[in-house]
Subunit: 127 residues, 2 copies
DNA sequence: ATACATGCAAACACTTTGCAGCACA
DNA sequence: TGTGCTGCAAAGTGTTTGCATGTAT
């Protein structure tokens, strides 16, 4: 299973790296399609999966909504506006010691964690 | 909009309070159905929504999977086994000060947060 | 030449919704 | 009596998959 450098894969990677607003698969698909490039949505999903498994981009799972993707592949946290559903970065260092605060693991082996903050973005507070 | 005390709503609430293993809507539906009670899945979803909005039960959104529900409605954290997808409670106090660690809110108003740990449960480590 | 990738459509998993009839207050 | 609730089926949303064809190596 060797990876091929196809036009579609390059476009998906470049588009995520260019859009700095945590785009969803749907948004990436629309962005690529808008530039008269033929690409199918299945291909976008397949390439997003491959690229995030390779660590080229970051997959951000979003509860109750479409997952989004981040050109920034260093671990960091996000906040989601509960009204407009947009996702923003949080200015907080990665809490590497968080696992050590767990008092009893009951044999569970933890290897990662996600924090999602929820609230209102500046624009939605006006309404 | 006054709430009515229907058999179905009572059954959904009692079932969540009795099952202490973070059941999904589907599991709650199957549990109620198995006791020769006629209930529709839409009613289960509708009542889970109402009951969690009223604070009687807790709704736990799970990225990449079915949301689950918790009889324990005090804030606490969860870990999900990435192999069997089961959800467990984490023995860690609620980190009320977490928001204060954020260095720059950029005008965002945060009112809650979720932490989901990911790893392997004891059973899945054997495999 | 031959894996791997693609487009398309269909299937999938989870959840919500429109509607007509039912039942709690 | 009247609004809130129900079952059913259909639709909605986000994502994956089967398959025949295409293409990078």
């Amino acid at each position: 299973m060797k990876n091929r450098n196809t036009l579609q894969r390059r476009l998906v990677l470049e588009t995520v790296q260019r859009m700095h607003n945590h785009p969803t698969a749907e948004e990436i698909f629309r962005e690529i399609s808008s530039e008269n490039t033929l690409i199918s949505k299945a291909t976008v999903y397949r390439n997003l999966k491959i690229l995030s498994e390779q660590g080229e981009i970051q997959h951000i799972p979003i509860p109750n909504g479409a997952d989004c993707f981040d050109f920034n592949n260093t671990p960091h946290y996000h906040m989601e506006c509960r009204r407009c559903r947009r996702v923003f970065d949080v200015d907080m260092p990665y809490q590497a010691d968080l696992c050590s605060k767990i008092q009893n693991l009951h044999g569970f082996l933890i290897d990662s964690h996600h924090i999602v903050f929820s609230g209102l973005c500046p624009e939605c507070q006006q309404k």
